[in-house]
Symmetry: C2
Subunit: 190 residues, 2 copies
């Protein structure tokens, strides 16, 4: 049990031991229920066949939701990014999960990402804007460039803003962030 | 000595004691030179009479530098912000230091800031753009709004971008930062 627990992200030998002792002290039915839940989740959760987000159904809740705006698709690297964006409660469009970013160092090329399906979705008449919401890094910028060139013939492509984070003091911002904040300055429109 | 050292920002009783013992163990001439440097700096450093940045001369190095672009003025709250922006090596214009932000809670109103002088500078024909580089916060946003309304009749006013910082993963961004990054998205222009 300890060997398996130790493989979890962020769990080292000491934590694994602590978790194992906790589980040993539980009633057997609790441990059985926990084990069953792991297997059930693993078996039931797959990828939405439209947006490739995690989903129990063949098509995920967001793709099926008629109140979500299907004129806008937000392209993200990872299902976790959708959770982060949903928390803002500001976005009412759909998503498309690439399943990673282009990274020659880690052997991830465009062909490993869900790009063909994205081109197919973006080329539909209903889609008016593709928002690329991929974080700023070498791999993120490469992926954004690639996706942008792929989609521009079909549709308007935008990218989320980079700059000072909320509560960010200029003094504590790193130089690249500050340079991007200056470069990305916008007309004051109020 | 310890009482005085303890008043420095970030110096608690223990650090003050450590610094004091260090100074006691130095040769007397070093301590005299240190004390003199404190007094000299305090006496010599004043505010530039054009931009209100810290300066030994009546007019600071940046204001006197003919290679700095005087068509652009970057409005900042504090001299430290100029140091941060200079480190990016991306900005070639001039500065204007407000000397704080509008904060009713701390009793700072517009009249305490170097705003009249800014209006005077911005209304000159040579000035083409005012970049407001004040961090995002309630006080920062209020100040930006105020400065913007004051200057718009004379000149183009822009504001630095807010969004994801460099290396910022969407997953770890707070909700307001992510909402601003989405709201501030821009056309992909490559």
């Amino acid at each position: 049990m300890i060997e398996h627990l130790q493989k979890l992200p962020g769990v080292g030998p000491k934590t694994a031991q602590r978790l194992a002792l906790y589980l040993i002290e539980r009633p057997e039915k609790d441990v059985l229920a926990f084990a069953q839940a792991l297997v059930d989740a693993k078996r039931q959760v797959g990828l939405c066949r439209i947006c490739f987000n995690l989903s129990v159904q063949p098509v995920c809740d967001i793709c099926r939701n008629p109140h979500r705006d299907d004129r806008v698709i937000c392209v993200i690297a990872d299902p976790r990014d959708a959770i982060a964006i949903e928390k803002t409660r500001e976005y009412r469009g759909k998503y498309h999960v690439l399943g990673g970013v282009i990274s020659p160092m880690e052997g991830v090329g465009p062909e490993q990402l869900h790009l063909q399906e994205l081109v197919h979705r973006a080329s539909k008449d209903t889609v008016e804007e593709i928002i690329i919401a991929i974080g700023p890094s070498v791999e993120g910028d490469t992926t954004t460039l690639y996706v942008g060139q792929l989609l521009k013939p079909f549709v308007r492509v935008t990218r989320i803003a980079f700059g000072l984070p909320m509560g960010g003091d200029l003094e504590y911002a790193d130089e690249v962030t500050l340079a991007r904040a200056l470069e990305g300055r916008r007309e004051l429109d109020y």
